[in-house]
Every structure is written in C-alpha cells, then in structure tokens.
C-alpha cells in the first residue's frame, strides 16, 4: 500500500519534471522563471510529503488491512490522482483539506477517479428524477390516486460528435415506459441556425415545453389539459429549426417546426397530414434584476374529426422575472400568464369549436429554501367550448437542496358540470445523477 503510494508519488514527481521541462519559458528573466518553478515543485513536494505522512499514520493504525497485497501501478497507469487510498477510513468521504492539485500550468486536464471512472468517460450524463404525487380531498370529475409515484424520468445527455449533441428523456410511469423526448441538436450549423431532430415537446408557449419536474405546480393548468392534449401536451416526432433575429433592441428568436402529426391534439390520417408549429419569442433585460419574456405561438394540423378537419391553436405568453443578482440565493419572483385559443373543425361540415383558456401564476421566494405561489386558471373544453372549467391554487414549496423539493398545493376546481372539487395535492421531487441545467 505505502509502497504503491511512494511509487505513484515518484511518478507524479517525474511527470511534474517532464511538464516543467516542456513548459515554454516566460518572457521574463530565466532566473526568476526557474525560481518560480522550484517554488512550485517545492509546494508539490510538501503536499506529497504530507499525504505520505498521513497515509503512514493511517497505515500504522491498521497494520493488517493496510498492508494488503499492494499492486504497484505499472508505468502505463496515468499517475495523475490515480491510486486513491484503498480501504478509505470513514472520513474518506470528506474532501481532503487543501489536497494538492495535479494540474500543471500547461498540462492537460488530469483525469480523476479510478479505472472504473475511466471506463465511464464516454457515457452520457445520466439522471433520474422521481415525481411522487399525493392527493387528498374530494374530486368526482378528474380524480388522481391518493399516493402514486407519478413518474420516474430518466435523462441521458451527451455530446455526440463535434457537430451534435443528444438528449433523451425516458418517462417511466404507471402507464408504462415511453420516450418523453429524444432528440439530436445541431448547435454548429451555418447561418446561425439551431436545429433539433427527434421526438420533442413543441415550442408552443411556455408550459408546453416544460417537463413535469420544472413546473411551479404539482399539476398542469387547465388549458394544458383541455386544449393542449393533457399532461403530455404537444409532443411529437419532428424537426425544429430556430434562428436568432439579431437586432439592437432585444433577444428575438423565431422557431419553425414540422411534426408527424400524431399527438394529444392532432391526428394524422395520411403521410401528408403534418403538424406545423411556429413561435416568435422576445426577451429583454429591463434592469439587472428584472426581465420580460414574451412570445406568440401557433400550431396547425389535422384532427380526428374527419380527413379534412383541422385544428388551429394560437398562444400568447408573457413572463416577468425579478431576481436581484447579489441576493439571488434568497430573492426571486416570477409572474407568468399564458392565453390559448383553439379553433377546431368538427364533424359537421363548416362547424367549428372556438375555445379559449388561460392561466396567471405567481411565484415568490420567501426564504432561501421556501417558495410561495398562486395560480388562477380556466379553460373551455376544445370540443365543447360552452363548458368552462375554472380553478384556483395556493402553493408552498420547500427545497432541502437543489436536488429535492417538497410541495403542497391547495386547489379548488369548479368544473363546468357544476361539481366543485377542493383538494390538497402534495409532491416529492428528487433527483439523482448528473447536475442538469435547465433552459431559461
């Protein structure tokens, strides 16, 4: 064990010498350069000596275990941070105080971890997000189970090659396993274009593009359910192309998408029955702490009423955010409204159902880990616009860390048929694996 450490230390020293020898001289006087290098080497040597001393001390306490068959690393083993102390003591999970770095001034990024980590290098970033939902209270119209692991979302994300990256989101739910999204993104196309190909959530408004675990509520607002095809929303296989329209005033992005035409809203009767989605999004920082994000979207495609029946959807969304930079950990507010119009051809020739739905939602950060929220939403039903459901919610969310949250939602829904449902929904969200970043 100690022998192995010494060998690896020697290896590191040799590597350090080689790295220093290879380092091009600075424009300064060579004497000073040499001094700096010696100083650096001295620091590294000190750190190594400390490490060896610590290991010797630890080894002295556990003679039998520590002297277990040492496998001296062959010369081929990369010495950088290799050979972690075997059989780490319980304190081994702590970040070592001031552990010496392995990165030389010009050397390549060292590889950390052991051989099993090496074998994982090209694996995609993986994460699993659990979404556990519970409900109490009475709802005769659209009840959800009292307790249920609603979804386990698995994500696999990686760069494919120098030209593309891929993102997969698999959703395992009591209904089964499905590819929620799986698409290829080309971020390096000429002409400032960004293209995505695969199955994905259509860029229609805001809430339609969000995964369940990033919604600020336990449930989805009524227009999603009534007009956009339920929790899954507009989510289909297709191609998306977007472009920044550069101008001095604001961030402006135009997106055009073509989908196969089978999803919660649209139905394709033949190959040519595609769904078309377009979106124009504008964004501007109002001040350093506040910004405004507005967009308009439309979607067009065939529906299941008949071979020539179509559905047209229009949407407008606006979001105002407040987050002072210096207090970003503690203060945040967001107000968002979305409106949706649906024009749906019915079975009878010339008959059209005109439905409207909207929601307004506000979130406010109360303390570093506590968030309050409110939402009012209503929507006609796409097929029978005379029926309008209305709902109001109050929310409280607690974040133990950025990887888990607990949320409660008091919801009162007044269904068009006259029934009223008062419910308490609660949710546990938890994430393991790679630290994913979300699109703003």
């Amino acid at each position: 064990m100690l022998h192995a450490v010494r060998v690896s230390c020697t290896g590191m020293l040799v590597l350090a010498f080689v790295a220093l020898a290879a380092a091009p001289a600075r424009a300064q006087d060579p004497q000073a350069e040499l001094k700096a290098q010696i100083e650096l080497l001295r620091q590294q040597l000190d750190a190594l000596q400390q490490k060896v001393a610590a290991l010797e001390a630890a080894g002295g306490q556990r003679p039998a275990a520590a002297e277990a068959p040492a496998t001296p690393p062959a010369g081929a083993t990369p010495p950088a941070a290799g050979t972690p102390p075997q059989a780490p003591p319980p304190a081994g999970v702590q970040v070592p105080e001031g552990a010496a770095g392995a990165g030389g001034p010009t050397g390549p990024l060292p590889v950390y971890g052991n051989t099993s980590a090496l074998s994982k290098i090209f694996n995609p970033d993986m994460a699993v997000i659990g979404n556990f939902i519970g409900a109490a209270g009475k709802n005769d119209v659209a009840p959800i189970p009292a307790l249920r692991l609603n979804e386990a979302e698995m994500s696999f994300q990686a760069i494919v090659d120098p030209y593309a990256r891929a993102d997969f989101f698999l959703s395992a739910s009591p209904e089964g396993l499905e590819v929620e999204e799986g698409f290829l993104t080309f971020p390096t196309l000429p002409g400032g274009l960004l293209m995505k190909v695969g199955k994905m959530k259509a860029q229609f408004g805001k809430v339609n593009t969000m995964h369940a675990h990033v919604l600020p509520w336990v449930d989805a607002p009524l227009p999603m359910t009534n007009l956009l095809g339920g929790d899954e929303g507009l989510n289909d296989s297709g191609i998306s192309v977007s472009k920044l329209i550069l101008n001095p005033v604001l961030f402006l992005e135009a997106t055009g998408e073509i989908y196969n035409g089978d999803n919660g809203v649209f139905a394709s009767h033949k190959r040519g029955n595609l769904t078309y989605v377009g979106r124009l999004r504008g964004y501007r920082d109002v001040t350093e702490s506040t910004n405004l994000d507005v967009g308009t979207s439309f979607a067009y495609g065939h529906n299941d009423a008949g071979p020539d029946a179509t559905t047209r959807l229009f949407g407008i969304d606006a979001t105002f955010r407040y987050r002072p930079l210096q207090e970003a950990l503690y203060k945040k507010a967001l107000v968002r409204a979305e409106m949706f119009w649906s024009r749906r051809d019915l079975l009878a020739p010339g008959a059209e159902a005109k439905a409207f739905g909207a929601y307004v939602s506000a979130d406010y950060q109360l303390t570093r880990r506590l968030f309050g929220g409110a939402r009012y939403d209503f929507s006609d039903r796409a097929i029978d616009p005379a029926l309008r459901d209305k709902s109001g919610s109050l929310l409280l969310t607690y974040w133990p860390s950025e990887f888990s949250q607990v949320r409660g939602q008091l919801r009162r829904t007044r269904y068009a048929e006259g029934a009223t449902a008062n419910e308490i929904l609660f949710q546990f969200l938890f994430s393991i694996g790679a630290h994913g970043a979300h699109v703003f």
């Binding site: 970040v95 392995a102 703003f440």
Partner: protein, 311 residues
Amino acid sequence: MKKFTFVLAAFATAVLSAAAPAQAALKVVATTQDLESLAKEVGGDKIETDSLAKGYQDPHQVEPKPSFVLKLNKADLLIVVGRELEIGWLPPLINQARNPKIQPGADRYLDASGFAHILEIPTGQITRAMGDVHPQGNPHYWLSPENGRRIAQGIQKKLAEISPGDAAYFAQRYADFDKRLADAEKRWNAEMAPYRGTKIVTYHRSWPNFVETYGLNVVGYVEPKPGIPPSPSHTFELTQEMKKDNVKIIIIEPYFDAKTPNAIGRDTGAQVVTLAPSVGGAKGAPVADYIQLFDYDVRTLVAAFKAAGVK
C-alpha cells in the same frame, strides 16, 4: 389555410434571413469578471471584452438569460472558469448561442482551469451527501495571484494563436502585467506576513487558494457542507470550535446572508469581514481589475485583523 401559409412563409423568411455580422475587434467573452479582467490586461485595445456573471453574484447561481445568448453569439473567444463552476447555467447558453467557434472542445473555448493550480480535488468516492461538491476540484482558484499570472499567460498564448499579427503586442502586455503583479505581490505578502497561521472561518469554500497564498488557517465553515445553508446545530458546533481556537475572523462573500455569520460574530467576538470574491465584487469600493481585487481584499482583511486585535 391561406392565412397559415402566410404565417408560415413569414416564419420561414425570418428563420432564413441570415444577417451576416461584421467582424471587428476580437470579441472575448468570459464567464466571470475576473477572467474578463485578465483578458483585458493581456489583450489591451486589440480585443473587446464582456462577461456574464457579475463579481457580486454567486457564480454557482447565475440565471441563463437569453441576453447572455446574444453575447455568446458574437463571441470570438469564450473563457470559462471550468471545474463545473458554471455547470448549472452555461451549457444551455452555449447550446443556444448558434456559435460553432465556442462549443466545448472547439478552438475558441478556453477553460482557464487548465492553467491553474487546483486545490481540494476529491479523492475516492464522492456523493451528494457531501453537499455541492465539485468533483474536479475547487473552482474558486482565481484567488491566488500565481494562478492569475498563469491564466493571463494562457490567455496571451490563445490570443496570439488567434491573432498572430498581434502576438508581440500581447506578449508585451503580459510581461507588463506580470511585472505589475509581481510588484503588487511583494506588497501583499509584506502586509499579510504578520498574520501567517492565523485561524479563520469562512462561509463557503471560496478561499482555499487565497488562504494558501497567505498561510491562513481555515478551521471551519459557516456552511455545514458546500452549498447547504447554515443549520443551528452546525452553527452551535462552529461557535464552540471558534471559542476554543480563539478564532477572531469570519470571511464571507457579498452574496450570502450575513445574519448567521453576524450572530456567530456576536457570540464569539469575531469580526465578520465581507471580502470581494471577484473583480467587481465589493459594494461601494471600485474593484475594477484583478490587481485591485487583491488590493481590496488584503487591505480589508488586514484592517479586520488589526481591529480584532490579531497579533
């Protein structure tokens, strides 16, 4: 249907109208103001610089605003801190930037941590039970002058590679910065020398390179684990520890709530000092460049040591 054809056509036109941006001075975008300042030292008036996160902002907690996409879209060179400091916000920005040059692994994507001496690289198994641990080492490495020098040199080489005609200019600018930094280091070392070995407490693990440079001894953190807010039990233990060790200084960053450190300070008699963790990171005091950052921090800390009666 006609209406939709028209709308579609309008979108198509918007999508395809390629506005070719004019190429002027080399546009360098850095994720933090520290890296921007170092780039400015070396690049002088041959480059235009910009940065994303402000110095008084927690660099872990930046929002990936679309306005940043616009900055990245025009960048000729992107300099990042790396070591997963920006993992929560930079990847989607780069992805949306529609700029092939600055994609990770591309020629104009410069990870400054490759030049720096990195501390606290975890060995062995790490889990999130340890808090928000950076598996590739502590990313707050810019807080040692030697690392600043190395990063500046790395940027100088990259700029010379991009713009070979100005290589001599960049080399001269770097030599000048190196000299000014060396002079300043003598000053800082002299000012901090009496306090070598002083025991201190910091809020977050932002200062390992800084304390290593000046030989300070961090005996505890206000956070129980990186990224986890202070808990009453940890605060109690820390207070006991500080009383036992007679710790008189608590260093905090401007973006953390000072309530807990202040309470600890009242209990233990320690001074709470807000240092600038980055260029632009001090309230009411101009910390406009990399050398001023250390000027400010050393001055503030020495004043606090004196006020606390350390030595």
